[in-house]
């Protein structure tokens, strides 16, 4: 599903990633871990096509991101969900509207947008808060809205960058259960985190980065 071949990324003179080769199979659940500045966010941004590698090749579902056109990158992003630490929700739109955006941009019929959005909000336990605005929700609820938006399209891959960084331990556990359930439905999940708590009892694959290099898998 995801293949990296000798990928490096420099920002000016700073090396963010160096010679990373990695393969993540369809349906895998992977943690990318390492201290702050290790290159976790850069790696996710490369997988999302928000950045291009300085060297090396990245293949997502056999599509080479180095050669992809802008339009095809937009279309590919419809198959990749992204969850951010700061949620990136629109404060002036309701919970329902925030999630529905992901379906509206692909030109889905309104009836189907309503149906899928309702279903997804029910799945993340927010069916009673559809008409609420993000700032009326707790941090954990906001993150669940962001996850609902990321997966409402049934993406092939779900990327999450420090998704529990702003949340307390109980809510963190709920969010991780949600990610696991999404993974069990067949979505490849890649979570970047520096939290050791998250990986303490996990039997999932963990990829370690340090100073832009792959130091453990």
């Amino acid at each position: 599903m995801i293949q990296l071949f000798h990928v490096s990324k420099n920002f000016g003179g700073n090396v963010a990633l160096k010679d990373i080769s990695l393969r993540i199979r369809k349906g895998e659940y992977v943690f990318i871990t390492g201290p702050s500045g290790a290159g976790k966010t850069t790696l996710l941004r490369l997988l999302f096509g928000a950045e291009r590698p300085t060297e090396g090749q990245i293949l997502i579902d056999r599509i080479n991101l180095n050669r992809i056109s802008r339009l095809n990158l937009d279309l590919l992003r419809r198959r990749i969900g992204f969850v951010f630490q700061d949620f990136k929700l629109l404060p002036r739109k309701t919970v329902f509207q925030n999630v529905a955006i992901a379906l509206e941009v692909i030109g889905e019929r309104s009836a189907l947008v309503r149906k899928k959005t309702h279903q997804m909000l029910r799945a993340v336990g927010l069916s009673k808060k559809e008409e609420a605005y993000p700032l009326q929700l707790s941090g954990g609820e906001q993150q669940r809205v962001a996850i609902a938006r990321a997966v409402v399209n049934n993406p092939l891959i779900l990327l999450a960058d420090e998704p529990t960084g702003n949340l307390d331990p109980d809510i963190t556990r709920d969010i991780m259960i949600l990610f696991r359930s999404i993974n069990l439905r067949g979505t490849t999940v890649v979570i970047a985190t520096h939290s050791r708590e998250l990986m303490r009892d996990t039997d999932q694959r963990i990829v370690h980065l340090s100073e832009g290099k792959l130091v453990g898998d």
Binding site: L71, D74, L75, L76, R77, R79, V105, I106, G107
Partner: protein, 297 residues
Amino acid sequence: MRLRVWSYYFKHAWNNILANRLIHLISIGTIGISLLLFASFLVLFLNLNSWIMDWGQSVSMSVYLEDGIDQKTKEKIEALLKNLPGVELKGFTSKEKAFRDLAQGLGAHSGLLDGLKSNPLPASFELLFRDVNINQINPRKMKDEIEKIQGVDEVQYSKEVLERLEGLMYVLKVAGFIIGGFLCLAVLFITTNTIKLTIYSRREEIEIFKLVGATDWFVKIPFLIEGAIQGLLGGLVSLAVLFGLYSMFFLKKVHVIGLPVLNIAFLPPDYLVSILLLGLVLGLIGSFIAIGRFFEF
């Protein structure tokens, strides 16, 4: 699918106008004023042009006779003038009548003429040529021919004034293009900046649209529609204000000392549609420039 997406674009554009209504109101007002200036200029130009065209259909001519010609020569000249194509002989003014008319015209200052030892004014025939374009009458050529008649001193015709006015119309036309060009640039500038502001106010939303896989055009089209609506509404405002002013001042004939002198016509329907289209196209181009400069992600 296509209809659904377009209805989404329009809904989105309209919601965006409502969300940024103050910016848009100011912008629509400013576009309206720019287009109003342009439309007012068009009203002036079209009416002047129409008067000149009407006026140009007939030419009046004064044929001044040499002093001291006998009655026989005068009658001979009169007979020749009557035979000219499309002519109407309006009358004869003798030297004495010309002098009396001048004294009457001077009114209280007629005493100025007392010092004259002899009457310097010539006798003249007044001619009128109707439908000069239809009858293919060339006033300049006609003037030259009449001046060749024995006993005729000089010929003056109204078309000389008309030709000067036509020159003025040409200057007005050039000025119109220059003013119109500047006003169009102003409308473009206003629209570009308004759309830039609305893009800026929605940058978070745009970022999220792109994150969930919206194509560039999916994000851009509502802004283009927004600019076009803005231009169109600006055009409507300009025409509404212009019609209001026209109704107040020009719907009846303008009277000067009780005499109807001006009959100002409003813009014809094709010009009204053109102004609306101009607003729409300028709005569209303005927003196109704005999105071109903004969407570099």
